[in-house]
Amino acid sequence: MPATLAEKLVARAAGRSSVTPGEIVTCKVDLAMMHDSGGPRRVKPMLERLGAKVWDPSKVVVITDHYLPAYDDESRKIIRIARDWVREAGIENFYDAQGICHVVLPERGHLRPGMFVVGGDSHSPTGGAFAAYVFGVGATEMLGVLVTGEIWLEVPHTIVMEFDGALEPGVSAKDMMLFLIGRFGLDGGQYEAVEYRGAAIRRLPMQERMTLCNMTAELGGQTGLVASDGVTRDFLKADVETWQSDPQAPVLEHHRFDASELAPQVAAPHSPANAGPVDQFRDVQPTLAYIGACTGAKLEDLRMASRILRGRKSKMRLLVAPASVRDQETAEAEGTLKAFVDAGAELLPNACGICAGYGEHLLPENMVAISSTARNFKGRMGAASSQVYLASPYTVAATAVAGRVCDPREFLR
């Protein structure tokens, strides 16, 4: 029987030769990833109540990224709990202040095609870019995984988003996702597996594929997936297996688009689904441009923005929070970061920060901002009256230097 990539991954984890969408299976978890907010501070008291231990400490990764840098007593306490707990529980895979979990996890080699992974965060599908089944769970569900090493799953159907052709310079994975979310809505993914395919997807570098899978959360999918190939192998610097759907495998929906026709997209407040071509937003004049988060400040995101910023000055406050320490170091070494500094950008820590409503730089009342992050829900990044427009790193950078929402392709011609 031909099977989809999602079905193959779930079948392997369930110890079955095949599975059928809709049936409920129990899967063995290869890796459980937690951060400081939903992780140790929530699961530690529950483990103590049960008198239980972590099923396999070598299969747990803890990454601090939400309450960093700690800025008050509560955040200091949350970070301290994480640091103490990994020691008590014998967890060696601990990355403290190294960047945002979804970026650090593959960067440090924890993801391989074929794996079945749960993450204590809604953007966990990011890891699906490596042809692994990765999805988000809440703290109590994570507790269940930590105690049993297993989790139940309703075998998902697959929704295929196929992009033929190639993106124009200045158009990116973020634009693909805003376009899809605008078209299909916040529940277009129906909590199924969304697989990205086609010539335009195969051309994308690894971190752009991560952006697709990352924003599958906003599309409402349980996970996003991309088949593994040479790009995957090169990124992981390892000889990994090819995991892909069989061409004849039945899917729930199959949508086809021509990537070369896609214009840069912007999503208006207060939903990623309020997306449309950048031209519709030319009258919007933000006073803050933010390049940050797992969605929008990985090395590839910084490179895209730097192509616009190089040799230009920002006309508004421009903040950049590179998604990981390692990505920032590379950006610094290759000169990418210099373009930001020369444009007048302020550098923020490698953490979730404003995107998740944490830290000291929250948006004040009535501020209009443009952001490379994933969500612009009311009040998420600060005051409920603040207005956040979502766009690609290219478009955020172009807007910063133009002083109003601007099509980045104007700077690249």
């Binding site: 049960l50 008198g51 988000g136 809440g138 109590t140 269940g144 105690v147 409503g357």
Partner: protein
């Protein structure tokens, strides 16, 4: 008890705002849904119901979203559909999340009761009975136990005594 009716795509940032996440559930619950219904956290009473359209609870994995609703005493959630992660979180906390395709028939303030034997929401104000999709058996047992934590506690206890 009475129902509080919300629209489509109510997200976790309005159910449990990020800036209060560093605090305990008391404080988070005090701001639950205030961005879209300022009187909700003050006036919701134990036994009330939250009713919504499509994709209730979209956004973050933060379990504090269903936890805040439970903390305020909400008896059950009734919606046309739930975001998948939120749905799992709600049931894991023992808070019933009922998928009811006709949830929009319910008006704000209607008095409701839930019949788990017939899988129906009974709108006592309008007199209508609205069927909901039964919660899968393996999850209903967990909900009856009060959520995943007490459910695991029971399982571990059984293992030690047997």
């Amino acid at each position: 008890m009475k129902s509080w009716v919300f629209s489509d795509n109510v997200d976790t940032d309005v159910i449990a705002p990020g800036r209060y996440m560093k605090f305990g559930i008391d404080e988070i619950a005090r701001h639950c849904l205030e961005a879209v219904a300022s009187d909700f956290p003050k006036n919701v009473r134990p036994g009330d119901f939250v009713v919504a359209g499509r994709n209730f609870g979209c956004g973050s994995s933060r379990e504090q979203a269903p936890a805040a609703l439970k903390h305020l005493g909400v008896a059950a959630l009734v919606a046309e559909s739930f975001a998948g992660l939120f749905y799992r979180n709600a049931l894991n906390l023992g808070l019933p999340a009922l998928v009811c395709s006709r949830a929009k028939r319910i008006r704000d303030g209607d008095r409701l009761s839930i019949d788990y034997a017939t899988n129906e929401v009974f709108d006592l104000t309008s007199g209508e009975r609205l069927p909901f999709k039964p919660i899968p058996a393996h999850l209903m047992e967990m909900v009856r136990d009060g959520g995943l934590l007490p459910h695991l506690e029971k399982r571990l206890k059984c293992r030690t005594t047997s």
